[in-house]
């Protein structure tokens, strides 16, 4: 990888970092921006001179160029990592944050890649080398008149057995939290049949543990999992033999594992849309309700309804929640919020089609969003976790949340 650019959301070059002997001219950025007109360019494209990788995070484009053939995912993974690290360091990715802290970003890029190949990308190791610009260090620099924002201590993690963890972590309160986050991927077809229902789950961990603890986690029903992928800290053998996760956690927040559960059957809610159109008028009725009570509150329910282009005006009301529309995008959003248990929210009314249209020719796809706290829709349950190799017994916390990530209702 030859170089990297950060582009603002109007294509301006905010930052440029060259890693190889031959610098890449920044005209590649304007070339890219010309290609990127509609923002619909695949993440890897070939310019006349370079292969151009890019990812977009919060409107900021991370652009990298390579002169030679390379594994595409190496490039994309690296860019994602850079985005993650910068966002962790600066507390977000915005144009202003990057411009204010460009010295830090330069330092990070310097350590993350050298000679065109990724070097240190572990955030914990990086934090040992380059101190994040937190309020404390800013205060310090003001008070003491300018100590550097760089640790002069040796970067210890680079020499430990666990590259993701430094050995001298110390906390007065030892605690570890596990978050089970599941996303539902559902497609319901026109006739109301469930044609796809899958859950993609992640276990996120926040570890604030002193020393070098070894954790073991077991599941009550590991057999439902279709496929898993692990953080490098997870040992493979115990999983192979006992479906057990054994790991020395990195310090702080990280994604321990992700998994997939296929072929689920019961969606928590139902959505029954009806459209009937004649003579330029379209009658709409969308009924939403609880199908299989998950036992917990279904919250933050919204339904996005992209209006077909032939709709000229609409007159829709809901008996629960409210309807809003953004003028530019032609999308209605019906916010239901907490799903009532005693009645079924209903959106009804009519839409007027544009002149000359007799009936609706496009079939809109409804997108449903909701969150259920306290339950994992796949049914995966954590049985127990043990902490070994340390003298204290830490506070342990567990949470679960299920989200509708891609819940499509076709009409």
């Amino acid at each position: 990888m030859n170089c990297m650019f950060l582009l603002s959301d109007n294509g301006e070059v905010m930052l440029e970092k060259q890693w190889m002997g031959q610098p890449v001219d920044r005209s590649i950025c304007s070339w890219f921006w010309a290609q990127n007109d509609s923002r619909k360019v695949p993440s890897v494209i070939a310019s006349p001179t370079y292969y151009v990788f890019h990812i977009v995070r919060e409107g900021i484009t991370f652009l990298a160029c390579s002169k030679t053939e390379m594994p595409p995912l190496l490039g994309i993974e690296f860019l994602c990592k850079v985005a993650d690290v910068i966002s962790e360091y600066l507390g977000g990715i915005t144009e202003d944050l990057i411009k204010d802290n460009f010295v830090i970003v330069y330092q990070l890029l310097d350590e993350m890649m050298d000679n065109g190949f990724p070097l240190t990308t572990e955030i914990n190791t990086l934090k040992d080398m380059i101190a994040p610009p937190n309020i404390v260090s800013r205060m310090l620099s003001v008070v003491t008149g300018g100590s550097s924002n760089m640790n002069t201590v040796l970067p210890i993690a680079t020499t430990s057995n666990w590259p993701w963890r430094s050995t001298d972590v110390k906390y007065s309160n030892n605690e570890v939290y596990f978050d089970l986050v599941e996303e539902m991927d559902v497609i319901v077809n026109r006739d109301g049949f469930l044609i796809k229902y899958e859950v993609y789950g992640e276990i996120r961990v926040i570890a604030r543990l002193s020393g070098v603890p070894e954790l073991t986690m077991t599941f009550a029903n590991p057999s439902i999992i279709n496929d898993v992928s692990f953080h490098p800290c997870v040992q493979f053998r115990p999983w192979e033999t006992h479906q057990q996760l054994t790991f020395v956690p990195p310090d702080g927040e990280f994604k321990l594992m992700s998994y997939r559960v296929k072929k689920l059957k019961n969606t928590p809610i139902y959505v029954k849309p009806q459209f009937s159109s004649t003579g330029g008028l379209c009658r709409v009725s969308i009924l939403v309700g609880i199908r299989n009570d998950p036992g917990k509150q279904i919250d933050y329910t919204t339904l996005e309804f992209p209006l077909p282009s032939s709709v000229a005006s609409w007159d829709l009301t809901a008996n629960h929640g409210n309807i809003s529309s953004s003028p530019g995008s032609k999308t209605l959003t019906w916010t239901i919020g907490k799903m009532p248990k005693d009645k079924s929210p209903c959106l009804s009314g009519t839409m007027h089609l544009e002149k000359g249209m007799d009936h609706l020719e496009e079939f809109p796809t409804l997108l449903v969003k909701f969150k259920i706290m306290g339950i994992a829709m796949s049914g995966l349950r954590i049985d127990r976790t043990d902490v070994r190799n340390v003298t204290y017994s830490p506070h342990k916390g567990f949470r679960a949340v299920s989200k509708a990530a891609n819940y499509e209702i076709r009409t």
Partner: protein, 821 residues
């Protein structure tokens, strides 16, 4: 920090930019020697300003010496900023780089390992050839440093040194030092950098050693090691299994790059073991699917491209996972396109119904491009002959949706479907007959509709009347493709329903003969003469009995797919083209068409619109041989077996393909035939063929000569005459590729058998045959070398008809000089 002032990148030339630079310069100078308290802060602000200028593209190199002077400081951030600055400008100003050597070398002995490392890195990053001698010392001590960070930097430094001065690297024994380090140093960070750095030195080192240590490496280094393993050929199956067992857990790594690299190893290792290879597919399916659903959209896309490749290669194995390829509403269209292709590929007896149902839902999609694509996908599945019954119903339902683009796509498909399954004609024709021709706008769809009208004239009662409507609006029809098809359709209709069509055919022929487009004109003339010759003959040529098409030519040959597969986990997969197709291009100049790339080039070209027999090649003999070979393969591929005749629409000229018919007389006496009266035609006297025919020489319109025979003749015959002609500037301008000239010469009954070259140099082999010649005799062979920039054309004639050579040369000369006029 204040936001950088809104300078344009070129503002060094503007007075304000210069003024600011001068100001910075004086400020830096003042601070350089100062030891006052707080001076570091001031310096830092100035440095930040300089670097922010640099970032937005202003050239701040004039400050170089001041920056270096100020860098004598203990402040690490200042140092870092200075290193950044120096690294950026040293390459452009090697003379200035010398200035920095001193202070970098000093920093390499700093008490802080961080500074030692950074200084060493900056020193190595200068990459100026004449500074190599200064690098060796610091590198040597860097490799022996007590701190891992410095050693890491040093290892990478050795690699950088290797890039600018490989000899200096070897002379100083660095490879040996690195080798020793890896065995001694337990530092995992260093292992990693060693691998990334050392991979270039120890490419052939013991792989196994690396594999066993793989878990100690960083994820990026694992990718490199895996890349190396993928090239390794195990000695026996046991070793293969050992390696695979060792690497299996890498498939569950969170980093998709590692997973993909591992998959590549697995696929490569088992390439020769068919059954294990299948198992590997089964094993890698789940991790790939997880990656698709887990990562960011960008990662998903890249993984999906790889999945696409695997699906295309082994669709059967993925046939139960088709639901993963269902498009999401929010997917960008390039992802939807990939998914559609995969859905098409995995369709089999068991899932066709569901897949087609799913695809049909996309046909109503808001995204027109995807709607089209999905209709095409339905058609492709139909052509794969699973459950055609249901699919035909679907397609016919599309026609009832009354959306122009849906109708257009569907018509094209129904046409293909009928070519393959003539037995479905009744159902289809009933529905197609209801399609109002007014709703069909796109040329392809029109052509398809016309084809069906011509082909099924008997089944469609109003076919002649619909055709009549088309003929009436002949002048408004813009696409020559449609006009050609219309002509053929009318002719075919005529053979079936002569009484109703007779008038229309006359009108169509008249319109065709006065058509400005060469092909339309030619086809009109051909039909006219065939009809003159006799209606049966004409029918035999224009509307011969057809066989159902069994296999349609594939767009991407399996050879290309194999090539891409060999490049698994590279960019080639994302582009869906083997790397030679895009990698070479950027280095390929006009004259760099060396022999070894020529075969590649011909693949590229033929995969596009070029005809195989006219592929680009410089080597004559090779060219002729390969042309004849390709002709054979093409004959197999292209359904209707059209031979070397070039027509704009390959798929629709069914009847015209069979030009092995004995040469039809091109210069018939112009006496008006009965058929003229029949069709109500009156040809004007200056019809083109009168200008073609030279007094003493009449050329055969359809000479037959295959490349092999040509080559043989070319070898046997001596050069009869050599001439040079000058070309007009228009001709030179028109000659951007071989095609235009070929078409032009064909109108003069001189045919091309092979052509090649890149602008400005082209080479053609033409041939012609005098009419009425006995088989295998009366040929004129021409080698024609054209240089476009010099506008010169060298022609070598060979013939076995030497007494007519002069008049042929005259024909050829006038033909080639008329080109572009």
């Amino acid at each position: 920090m204040p936001p950088p002032p809104p300078h344009r990148p070129t503002s060094t030339s503007t007075p304000s930019g210069k003024g600011e630079l001068a100001e910075l310069k004086t400020q830096l100078r003042q601070l350089a020697g100062s030891r006052a308290p707080g001076v570091e802060d001031l310096k830092r602000e100035l440095y930040k300003k300089v670097i922010s200028y640099m970032t937005i593209g202003i050239d701040v190199s004039p400050l170089f010496s001041e920056m270096v002077m100020c860098s004598a400081t203990s402040d690490v951030v200042l140092k870092k900023m200075c290193y950044l600055y120096v690294g950026n400008y040293a390459r452009v100003h090697p003379d200035l780089a010398l200035l920095t050597i001193n202070f970098l070398q000093k920093d390499c002995q700093d008490e802080y390992p961080m500074i030692r490392g950074l200084a060493l890195r900056s020193l190595c990053s200068l990459r100026v050839q004449n500074l190599v001698e200064y690098l060796v010392g610091p590198l040597r001590s860097g490799l022996k440093d007590t701190h891992g960070y410095v050693r890491t930097v040093a290892v990478l430094g050795v690699l950088k040194l290797y890039h600018i001065a490989p000899n200096a690297c070897k002379d100083n024994d660095f490879p040996a030092m690195l080798k020793e380090l890896i065995h001694r140093d337990g530092d995992s960070q260093l292992h990693f950098s060693f691998v990334s750095g050392g991979i270039q030195f120890f490419y052939l080192m013991n792989n196994e050693h690396m594999i066993y240590m793989i878990k100690d490496f960083s994820e990026w280094a694992q990718c490199l090691v895996l890349e190396m393993v993928a090239k390794y050929v195990p000695e026996d199956p046991n070793e293969t299994f050992d390696i695979m067992n060792l690497l299996e857990d890498r498939l569950q790594h969170a980093n998709s790059a590692v997973v993909l690299a591992t998959i590549k190893v697995f696929l490569n290792l088992t390439m020769s073991m068919a059954d294990v290879h299948q198992q590997v597919y089964e094993r890698i399916k789940a991790p790939l699917m997880t990656l698709v659903s887990s990562g960011s959209p960008e990662q998903s896309y890249a993984v999906l491209c790889h999945l696409h490749l695997l699906v295309m290669r082994a669709p059967v194995l993925f046939s139960s996972d088709y639901k993963h390829f269902y498009c999401r509403y929010s997917d960008p269209s390039y992802i939807k396109k990939l998914k559609l292709e995969m859905l098409t590929a995995v369709a089999n007896e068991n899932n066709t119904y569901e897949i087609v149902t799913e695809l049909s839902e996309y046909a109503a999609n808001v995204d027109v491009a995807i709607a089209r694509e999905s209709i095409r996908a339905v058609g492709k599945i139909a052509l794969q002959q699973y459950d055609v019954n249901a699919i035909v119903d679907r397609l016919l339902q599309f026609l009832e949706m009354e959306k122009d683009y849906v109708t257009a796509e569907t018509l094209v498909l129904v046409k293909d479907l009928l070519r393959k399954y003539p037995q479905w004609s009744q159902d289809c024709i009933a529905v197609v007959g209801n399609v109002s021709s007014k709703h069909v706008q796109e040329p392809k769809a029109k052509a398809a509709l016309l084809w069906m009208l011509g082909e099924y004239a008997l089944e469609m009662p109003d076919a002649p009347y619909v055709l009549e409507g088309f003929v009436e609006s002949w002048a408004e029809e813009e696409s020559p493709e449609v006009r050609l098809e219309l002509l053929t359709a009318v002719a075919k209709c005529f053979f079936r329903r002569a009484p109703e069509t007779q008038k229309i055919l006359g009108a169509a022929l008249a319109a065709a003969l006065s058509d400005a487009h060469q092909d339309v004109h030619d086809r009109g003339l051909l039909y006219y003469r065939l009809l003159q010759h006799g209606v049966e003959t004409a029918e035999r040529v224009i509307n011969p009995p057809k066989q159902a098409v069994s296999v349609f030519a594939d767009t991407q040959s399996s050879e290309i797919k194999d090539r891409i597969f060999d490049e698994f986990n590279t960019l080639a997969v994302v582009y869906q083209q083997p790397s030679y197709m895009f990698l070479d291009k950027e280095h390929r100049g006009a004259f760099e068409f060396s022999d070894d790339t020529s075969t590649n080039a011909s693949v590229t070209e033929s995969s596009e619109t070029m005809l195989a027999s006219q592929s680009v090649d410089a080597n004559d003999n090779d060219l002729l041989l390969s042309a004849s070979e390709k002709e054979d393969t093409r004959g197999n591929l292209v359904s209707n077996g059209s031979s070397s005749y070039v027509a704009p629409s390959n798929s629709l000229i069914d009847g015209l393909g069979s030009f092995t018919v004995p040469p039809a007389a091109s210069s018939l006496p112009t006496a008006s035939f009965a058929i003229d009266d029949l069709l109500g035609l009156s040809l004007s006297t200056n019809s083109p063929e009168s200008t073609l025919a030279q007094p003493s020489l009449v050329l055969n319109a359809k000479p037959a000569l295959n490349p092999g025979a040509f080559q043989q003749k070319w070898r046997q015959l001596p050069v009869a005459s050599t001439e040079d002609y000058g070309l007009s500037s228009q001709a030179a301008a028109n000659l951007t590729g071989p095609q235009p000239l070929l078409k032009h010469m064909q109108t003069h009954l001189i045919h091309c058998i092979a052509s090649g070259g890149q602008a400005p140099n082209f080479k053609f082999f033409f041939f012609a045959q005098k009419s009425n010649a006995s088989t295998g005799l009366g040929y004129f062979l021409v080698e024609c070398i054209i240089n476009v920039t010099a506008r010169k054309c060298t022609v070598n004639y060979k013939t076995d008809e030497s007494d007519l050579l002069e008049s042929f040369a005259a024909v050829f000369k006038s033909a080639i000089l008329n080109f572009g006029v």
